[in-house]
């Protein structure tokens, strides 16, 4: 087999799996799962093989997909550090989650369908990762959207799930609207869609886009805003938790939402400083907002969802601050520990018979020890406790803010870190510690092995992800693009462990302190709480936080209402003005004229004769009257 074929196989294996499952093996659960899991695991193996064979340098394989005039769209695969790393994450974390799903979804009647959708999603995600041009990226972007739609709405007979999937899709579509316009703008100037070509051109002539550069950048950022759920398009992500938990883990924690950040990193050369400022602020704001909301959520998955939002905000902020490498680094570690957390939550939910309210849980530590330990590792990693992976990546972002001398954002980032530690430990104490608060919690027991082993695998990554040198690979990728001063050669393990403190000690220190503050506050409030003490203390603030700052209501009142109104008006015009008035008048008028004219035909000979003579007179007058 030729080496060029490998990425293609890697990409299309999941699609084939999805196709075969849909067409042939819907009846046989085992076969379906086997196909789907097989596809992604082989994908993982192939990804490793690719890295082994070709290393991290950039290469492209492409076919012409569409060519009309100067619109040349390739179907191309771009392999470089960025995409290869992403490949590893997607297939790696994906494999784990696939296997986990086999246990989690065991009793569901849509089992095969679930795996088909998962494989479709994997295909789309791999497509995004490997895309070498804008349109292809957009294509898979949309496909990711639709597979997410299918997975969120997996239990479509539940109204809430059906609505959530719709909302997710539409919100994403709003982002895509901007994305599409951005692509159009870029193409109109550059005349190509290929990333490499565009980058070349930008390198040759930085002022290529002129005045439209910022606008184009921001439009493209809209796409990321939708997928990565940045303010103000963040509303769909918490609702998306209506999907099965593995889906939340895979899509809404590890991969799909990361696509936005990935895309920003992919095209980071496009953004002007002004655009980057906007991006960083939106990221920072989202991080803070989501963290605040998470503090007052009671649904275990929603807390994790807002936490995801908040972390994504971090990443976007990092990109905005010029730290694409840091963003990707955090993306990677976040994929590990957030998947871990979600799968842990899934295990809990599974054990609790689909009860998700944390205040109905408690003292699960004894009942589910493995899940407990793995969840704890995830929590620590998320909170950025050294030496867990999250510490390194988050520190990289804080350091980026520090180095960029953007102190307002640095402050925001730190306060987010405080809040993160706070709400995560709130969750931790309420769920695992404390008293048993319900019958389900009393009867809970550990999940089966097929669900536990993936957790264990992820624990390893969450633990050591920070020191594997991932950041250096990214740094190398972006060094050319942003003239980073990161060294080319690899560091030793020890250097890696100490890197935060050598690089930006102040940031690292403040980060650790922030985490500590968060932890202590949470312990003080929740270690033994029966219900949420904060609710009464914060008053309206708490209600606002619990109600997610009323964003859904605001949208309801604006975007949706406006469209609804437009629809009503158009419909009214259609049925009354066009159909009723125009057609009605034409029809009625014709009919009436016919009936009126007919009255002339009285049947009376004399009238006829008279009209005859009248006619003659008129004709005469017309011809000879003058």
């Amino acid at each position: 087999m030729k080496l060029e074929a490998l990425p293609w196989i890697l990409l299309f294996l999941p699609l084939c799996a999805a196709g075969i499952i849909t067409l042939f093996t819907l009846r046989s659960q085992k076969l379906s799962a086997g196909l789907s899991i097989g596809a992604i695991v082989s994908g993982f193996v192939l990804a490793i093989a690719l890295i082994k064979s070709g290393g991290w340098e950039a290469r492209e394989f492409s076919l012409n997909w569409l060519s009309i005039g100067n619109l040349n769209v390739d179907f191309g695969l771009r392999l470089d550090a960025l995409s290869l790393m992403m490949l590893l994450i997607v297939t790696g974390v994906g494999s784990v989650i696939h296997i986990y799903s086999y246990g989690y979804m065991h009793e569901d009647e849509g089992f095969s369908r679930f795996f088909a959708c998962l494989s479709l999603f994997t295909f789309s995600m791999l497509g995004i990762v490997l895309a070498n041009n804008f349109l292809q990226l957009f294509i898979f972007w949309e496909l990711v959207g639709v597979s997410s739609y299918l997975l969120i709405g997996f239990w479509f007979d539940k109204a809430s799930a059906a609505d959530a999937s719709k909302k997710a899709f539409l919100t994403n579509r709003i982002g895509d609207f901007g994305f599409m316009l951005g692509i159009l703008t870029v193409f109109a100037v550059v005349g190509s869609l290929n990333f490499a070509v565009i980058q070349e051109q930008f390198k040759a002539n930085p002022a290529l886009m002129g005045g439209s550069a910022t606008l184009a950048g921001l439009l493209i950022f809209c796409g990321a805003m939708g997928k990565s759920a940045q303010f103000p398009l963040h509303v769909w992500l918490p609702d998306a938790m209506e999907g099965p938990t593995p889906v939340s883990a895979l899509i809404h924690a590890a991969t799909m939402v990361a696509a936005g950040v990935y895309m920003l990193c992919r095209v980071v050369f496009l953004f002007t400083p002004e655009a980057l400022t906007v991006i960083s602020w939106i990221g920072g704001f989202t991080a803070l907002l989501a963290a605040l909301i998470a503090v007052q959520q009671n649904d275990i998955k929603r807390i994790l969802a807002y936490s995801t939002l908040s972390q994504l905000g971090y990443m976007v902020m990092a990109v905005g601050l010029g730290g694409a490498g840091a963003a990707m680094f955090h993306l990677t570690t976040h994929a590990f520990f957030k998947a871990l957390l979600f799968l842990g939550a899934g295990s809990v939910i599974h054990a609790m018979h689909h009860e998700q309210d944390i205040w109905k849980m408690g003292a699960l530590r004894k009942k589910m020890p493995v899940t407990f330990w793995t969840f704890l590792v995830g929590t620590l990693a998320l909170c950025g406790v050294p030496p867990f992976s999250g510490f390194y990546s988050k520190d990289a972002i804080l350091a980026q803010a520090w180095h960029a001398h953007n102190y307002p954002l640095f402050v925001i980032a730190v306060s987010v870190a405080v809040l993160t530690a706070f709400y995560m430990f709130r969750l931790f104490f309420v769920v695992w510690v404390g008293d048993v608060r319900s019958a389900e919690a009393g009867h809970a027991h550990e999940s089966p092995g097929v669900m536990i082993w993936p957790l264990r695998a992820l624990v390893v990554l969450a633990l050591f992800g920070g020191v594997l040198g991932i950041n250096e690979i990214f740094a190398a990728q972006f060094s050319a693009a942003e003239h980073a001063e990161a060294s080319e050669h690899g560091l030793t393990l020890l250097q890696r462990i100490a890197e935060p403190f050598t690089n930006a000690p102040v940031a690292a220190g403040i980060g650790i302190i922030a985490t500590l503050i968060g932890f202590l506050t949470a312990r003080g409030l929740y270690a033994t709480a029966k219900s949420d003490p904060l609710t009464s203390k914060l008053g309206w603030m708490s209600r606002a936080m619990a109600n997610r700052f009323y964003f859904d209501e605001i949208y309801e009142a604006t975007v949706i209402r406006i469209h609804d109104l437009a629809g009503t008006i158009s419909n009214w015009i259609d049925s009354w003005i066009i159909e009723g008035l125009c057609i009605g008048v034409v029809r009625g008028g014709t009919d009436l004229t016919g009936r009126a004219l007919r009255l002339v035909q009285t049947g009376n000979l004399q009238t006829y004769a008279f009209l005859f003579v009248l006619g003659v007179a008129v004709v005469l007058w017309l011809t000879l009257g003058k």
């Binding site: 009936r595 004219l597 007919r598 005859f612 006619g615 003659v616 004709v619 005469l620 000879l624």
Partner: protein
């Protein structure tokens, strides 16, 4: 002239044969007459016949009154064919007529003779005699069902209004002759230019056109049409709709384009207005109509308007379109009336409800009537579509010169759209009536079946393979100048 003599002789033979024939053989008489006419029709295509290919003004006989040019031959064939079909229809209809069936056949033949003469008329006197022969015959034919008040009423209406129009026409002829001193069309054509500004002459022309307008049922001389169509026996109506109307058109063409071409050129405005209003009037009035024969009456007004489009264009393209359209109209209308004659045979009225369940009673008739309606509505692939296409083309061709023609074209289109409704209403009545009171099969005699099938074939032929007739018509109209 042997054709005309043969036809008149045939009429006499039919009259006489009646004296000796027993009552049960009378059907055969009608068929024989039809067969004889068919032979005469076919004979027009053979080169031996004196009337077939002998064309051109050289062949004028009887002091130039009788002209046997291409146009005349075209219309003679047209009338013969129509008469054959009408005769077959009349045989089918005979049990409703009661006494005098043979006279009915012979009168049809005499009316045909009048039409044949009219087709060749090249002189006002001749024209007058021929037209009166047709008209007076039709007075009788219309009121032939003496048992029915409606038939008599229709006869009287046709009589009074026909006489009125005759009076106008005669007065017009008097004035035209008085000013120019010419009865002959060719001679008139040579001097007509001089009189283009003579108002008495123009007055005469208008009066004459009034007479022709009555024949073709053009607005505002269309009042009689629905009543007479409804009241007359169905074969008469059919002959009236096809033969009488075509006579009007052949005379109109001859008069306008042979006799007074220089004057006619200035009359496009009048023709446009008349044609437009006729189309709209016919179609609008037909909309709320429930009586099938009245629908066809109004529709025949509308179709007169369509044909007038071709006249109004004042070009050879328009003239040949007129011929083409009339040919298509012949098959279509005769097919429709044949079905009506058969279906409504035992009903007192011709209400649309009588068509209910026709598709089960006789699929052939149902299909025929459907196709006839579709063709009248001007929908491919039937004759009506191509005819309308040619007419529109002729009119639009004149558009750049006079924008009134564009308006006329759009008026015609509006008419077509309106007409869709009542034509489709007929189709709906056949296939999708709720009530189906009578489902007894309809018996159709062989000749009638053949006639109906022939009409259908004609509609399809003219719609799909228009080439031959177009060439023929284009060649024929050359003889007008």
């Amino acid at each position: 002239m042997s054709l005309e003599i043969s036809v008149v002789a045939l009429g006499l033979i039919v009259l006489l044969a009646d004296l000796w024939l027993p009552a049960e053989r009378k059907r055969m008489l009608g068929y024989s007459a039809a067969a004889a006419l068919l032979l005469l029709f076919l004979n027009t295509f053979t080169s031996h016949c004196s009337c077939s290919l002998a064309e051109g003004p050289d062949n004028m006989t009887s002091a130039g009154m009788f002209i046997q040019d291409g146009l005349a031959v075209f219309f003679k064939r047209f009338f013969l064919l129509a008469a054959v079909l009408v005769l077959v229809m009349a045989v089918e209809f005979s049990d409703r007529i009661g006494a005098g069936v043979s006279e009915y056949y012979s009168l049809i033949v005499f009316a045909l003779a009048g039409m044949l003469f009219a087709a060749s008329a090249n002189d006002f006197v001749m024209l007058f005699a021929a037209i009166e022969l047709i008209t007076i015959t039709f007075y009788v034919l219309t009121s032939f069902q003496r048992g029915r008040v409606r038939s008599l009423e229709a006869g009287v209406k046709y009589l009074i209004l026909g006489a009125l129009s005759s009076a106008f026409m005669v007065y017009g002829i008097a004035l035209i002759w008085g000013t120019t001193g010419k009865f002959n069309f060719q001679e008139l054509a040579q001097v007509a230019g001089k009189f283009a500004a003579n108002r008495v002459f123009l007055f005469g022309v208008v009066f004459f056109l009034v007479g022709l307008g009555f024949k073709i049922a053009a607005f505002p001389f269309q009042m009689w049409t629905p009543d007479v169509y409804e009241g007359a026996p169905t074969p008469t109506t059919a002959f009236l709709a096809v033969g009488s109307k075509a006579t009007g058109f052949v005379l109109l063409l001859r008069f306008l384009f042979t006799a007074i071409p220089d004057v006619a050129m200035h009359w496009n405005k009048l023709l446009i207005i008349v044609s437009g209003i006729t189309i709209l009037y016919g179609n609008l009035c037909a909309l709320p109509q429930r009586n099938l024969k009245r629908i066809l009456g109004y529709s025949s007004i509308a179709h007169a308007g369509y044909v007038l489009l071709g006249v109004a264009a004042l070009t050879t393209a328009g003239e040949s379109a007129v011929l083409y359209y009339l040919a298509g109209y012949l098959f279509t209308v005769l097919a429709a009336f044949a079905v009506i004659a058969l279906v409504m045979r035992h009903l007192n009225s011709e209400d649309l409800a009588g068509l209910a369940g026709l598709n089960q009673r006789s699929p052939l008739l149902a299909a025929t009537l459907t196709l006839a309606m579709v063709s009248l509505a001007g929908i491919p692939p039937l004759a009506g579509f191509f005819g309308k296409f040619l007419l529109l083309k002729a009119v639009i061709e004149q558009g750049p010169a006079n924008h009134g023609y564009y308006c006329l074209a759009f008026t015609a289109l509006a008419g077509v759209i309106i007409s869709l409704y009542y034509y489709f209403g007929v189709i709906r009545a056949i296939y999708w009536s709720k009530e189906t009171p009578d489902l007894s099969p309809i018996e159709i005699s062989k000749p009638m079946k053949m006639a109906v099938c022939f009409c259908m074939a004609g509609m399809f032929y003219l719609g799909l393979f228009p080439g031959a007739l177009i060439n023929y018509a284009a060649q024929v109209v050359k003889s007008l100048k």
